[in-house]
Subunit: 316 residues, 2 copies
């Protein structure tokens, strides 16, 4: 769990991380969440009375308007946890609740890569692919808190790969860091293949997406092909969102950001061929800027908006 | 060109259609547009002075905020036509401008299938696949007037069909009426195939999507397979939008509406398998209700909103 204090301009004033220890149950987890908040405030050299509002962002299936985590796959045995109300009662401050990927998108929109954008789509590349969509300061939560599940748009029907979600042909099954490793491992298993990745596959922790990108950079042909395919898959994902949302900006976040400008250039090249000429020419395709701070900065952006809404409505 | 007069509750008071005769050029076309408006007002037994505002919706590449048709593929030799300003000057009334598929979606949202929805996605199935996305009364136009090009999301990479847009693997290349006919024709060309469609392929005008749906209804196995595949493709499209927008409602419009409830049920069955459980259970999947009136009713909805915006801002 990561918490930070963010000022009105989106600048972080300090943050802390504590282990979730999900196995200790949800009561412990909620208290740990509050403790992380207290420690972040201390880290910023502030007191709780200096804080205007709190934003909480969590992963998993949720009911955003109700402030409830429903059934988080990575936080067993949590179930139907009223996160927002718990935090709100504990600190007696306006408390906003948001999906973590949506919050990261809103953070980048407020204080990162999307500062100048009116609308943007974020793809967060990690074990899976998360996402967020912001249109004119609105976080696209969806009617059932399933908006911007951009890792789970289907891009292949004939030979679909199975996705971590159990379904088939999702973007995540092609372009997540996990999928990069899986595709590389499959290629390495082919008879007679030469690649510097062969040695790395047996190292402690096994092959990583970072290894694949590094090998491609160092001129390894097999790795270069895997990276090129990844750029293509991400371009398909970006194009599908450009033909749906048509945002000012598509932002890529997560570990692959380390691959640098050349990888982004590969994605752009494919988008130029896949998308309609106007969005292909005008949509900016860039990397995120806030790293792992995007989540709490975005949660703070949600808190900030809630705070201003309350002030406005109390004046009426 | 179709024009209608619509009252404040979304009810049509009369409409007329005149041929576009695009080959006669854009000046003629613009005047024809104005004439269609005048005749619609007359058909409603009203005078121009009874009209509060005008909405114009057109197909093709456009700049919606600027009110300009850029380069419409079906209206050669039109180019960079300032439609909105022309109509506005002619009638001296507030004039709204919108993409035709967006307008149809907004029409269904205001006065048709989506009346009770907070957000909805429309797929219009015809020669191509158009679409519109409405979120909380906002028409998702996109930053470059390319929002909701839902026929051009890519759903196949391995063996992509070429789309009418020239690109590959678009939903439209699989599930438009044109694609239904194309797939049926391909199947009929296979050696030893039996189907009642064989005779129809040589009739005047050739095979139509309607023929395929009728043959499926009558028990023809080949036609039934084409229809089932079409339902699957549309379910992939619907799921991709559900995982992006997560609307209350997905609405299908166009000729395939005639296929009735059983086709809709086939689409729903596939969505139940393709989508996440929560949106799969909660998203309504229905047919449009306004038929070919959706476009001008939606254009009127845009005009109505513009009228109210002007009134509100003039009061400040």
């Amino acid at each position: 769990m990561k918490a930070g204090v963010v000022d009105d301009s989106g600048r972080s004033m300090g943050n802390v991380s504590l282990p979730t220890e999900a196995h200790r149950g949800q009561e412990f987890g909620l208290e740990r969440m509050c403790e992380t908040i207290r420690q972040a405030v201390a880290a910023a050299n502030l007191k709780m009375s200096d804080i205007a509002a709190i934003g909480v962002a969590t992963p998993g299936t949720m009911d955003i308007p109700a402030g409830i985590i429903l059934d988080p796959p990575n936080l067993k045995p949590w179930r139907n946890v009223p996160v927002r109300d718990y935090v709100q009662k504990k600190f007696k401050l306006p408390t906003a609740f948001q999906n973590d990927a949506n919050a990261a998108a809103y953070g980048e929109y407020w204080a990162g890569a999307g500062k100048q954008a009116r609308s943007m789509v974020l793809f967060t590349l990690g074990t899976g692919i998360g996402g967020g969509i912001i249109i004119g300061d609105m976080v696209l939560e969806g009617e059932h808190s399933h908006g911007a599940e951009v890792g789970h748009i289907k891009i292949e029907m004939t030979k679909p790969r199975q996705c971590g979600c159990g379904r088939w042909g999702c973007l995540e099954a092609y372009a997540s860091a996990t999928a990069v490793v899986k595709r590389a491992t499959e290629s390495l298993a082919k008879r007679g293949v030469k690649s510097q990745l062969k040695g790395l596959a047996n190292k402690e922790g096994g092959l990583t997406a970072r290894d694949v990108f590094a090998a491609a950079e160092a001129g390894d042909a097999l790795a270069a092909e895997i990276v090129e395919d990844t750029a293509y898959y991400l371009a398909v994902g970006a194009t599908n969102l450009m033909h749906t949302i048509d945002p000012d900006m598509v932002v890529f976040a997560g570990g692959m950001v380390a691959a640098g400008e050349s990888f982004l250039q590969q994605i752009r090249k494919h988008v130029a061929q896949l998308a309609f000429p106007v969005p292909a020419e005008k949509t900016q395709i860039v990397y995120a800027q806030l790293g792992s701070d995007a989540g709490y900065i975005g949660a703070a952006a949600c808190a900030r908006r809630l705070y201003h809404q309350r002030r406005t409505s109390s004046k009426k």
